[in-house]
Symmetry: C2
Subunit: 242 residues, 2 copies
């Protein structure tokens, strides 16, 4: 058994059961769930536990809790997949493309001072560089370059081709969990080399995503993604006050 017999907190049980009742429309959209003392009786738990479960449901956009009036079930179609940038392959596959890596190259490299600064590394410091050309329906669509702090990923140089998702690889092999990211999205025209690699006319618009990923507020890696703008767009869903 890998991770089977873990105790499930009762607020998670309450959370799951209420979520099911919402999803199977026992509590339909627009209706109100029972008041908290009643939920306590239904699940035989204290109000603290009910409230923790409801707070989770509110955070995920299932309900709107309002003091004085009650807890309303929301139409969740519009608030799914909150707080994230949709991933590259996910977006393309939703559009009907088949996504794969053309090839991958891993080496050591001294990046620009901007990148070293974002990674909290000194000048002239080497990092692990992973270069990939991404294909959609066998057409080149993006050039992706990762710059990873080398101390965190010993031995990664020999992992060429052994992983598909870099983030899953970092978590499973090195125990690194990405907890935050900062993306900067720009656009500019393709230069000669980019136009050759992506098989585009020179001057075609490109989307550039520069991302720093963090684990526990420490930077882990920087990524530059250069994409054919005619075939790609970024989707971002955010909850909370803008």
């Amino acid at each position: 058994m890998k991770s089977a017999n873990k105790r499930i907190p009762s607020y998670m049980k309450v959370y799951n059961q209420i979520k099911d009742l919402i999803l199977n429309e026992t509590y339909p959209i627009g209706s109100f769930v029972p008041r908290e003392p009643d939920l306590c009786n239904m699940f035989d738990v204290s109000r603290t536990t009910v409230r923790k479960a409801m707070a989770l449901l509110e955070q995920e956009g299932f309900v709107n809790i309002q003091q004085g009036s009650g807890t309303e079930v929301l139409d969740r179609k519009t608030t799914q997949k909150l707080n994230r940038v949709t991933s590259f392959s996910e977006t393309l596959e939703a559009k009907g493309y088949t996504v794969q890596s053309k090839s991958m190259h891993i080496d050591m490299f001294i990046p620009s001072n901007n990148i070293l600064n974002d990674l909290n590394l000194p000048s002239e410091n080497q990092v692990v560089r992973i270069q990939r050309i991404q294909l959609a329906n066998n057409q080149p669509i993006a050039i992706i370059t990762n710059y990873i702090i080398p101390d965190l990923v010993p031995g990664i140089l020999s992992d060429t081709g052994t992983f598909v998702s870099l983030y899953k690889h970092l978590e499973s092999k090195y125990g690194i969990k990405i907890t935050a990211a900062r993306d900067t999205i720009r656009a500019r025209s393709a230069d000669f080399l980019e136009s050759e690699l992506l098989e585009l006319p020179i001057g075609s618009p490109l989307l550039i995503d520069y991302r720093i990923t963090y684990s526990l507020s420490k930077p882990i890696e920087a990524v530059v993604m250069i994409v054919d703008a005619s075939k790609y767009e970024f989707s971002i869903s955010l909850s909370g006050r803008p």
Copy 2:
């Protein structure tokens, strides 16, 4: 008095005091805050209250709470302003530009079916359209068009020029609070009209942000922002698993 004498929950007092102790480096980065029972004694509150305060601090990236080991103070430089797209004027002002609206036009308009669909409105439905040209250091930099569900903003047609921030106007005059947003960011080349309005050569790369804003999971408005890509970039900060 507008909203002065509101009772402050004691978990907020605890939250603010611990935040101050972190900011003035009584609890420096890398150190551990006192264990929860000690915090209870220090602030004379129950552990529930301390834990609510600490949960807030963790959510905002001040600390990392770890069962078994303790609560560590994090370096917060890297995790500020999480979960939002930085606003237009904010980004430009950080770069030293002075931002203002050149002019504003408000009318009724029948938008594309895509927009009507995103706003859950039927075909041929009119919406309130707000068109603006944004200036940075007196140079045109962006064309912004808002499409708002008309029932939500009666009388807004006469508000031309009476507001700077649309979202603050919606909240103060109509009580509409934006709670979520979905952005799609694309890039393409400027056509003739765009190049005239933004004073750019035809074919220059443009960034396009299409945003739907929501209040309590109901769509409120759609926005199209067309920006000179050489002068602007989007920054997005996200916390949580990618």
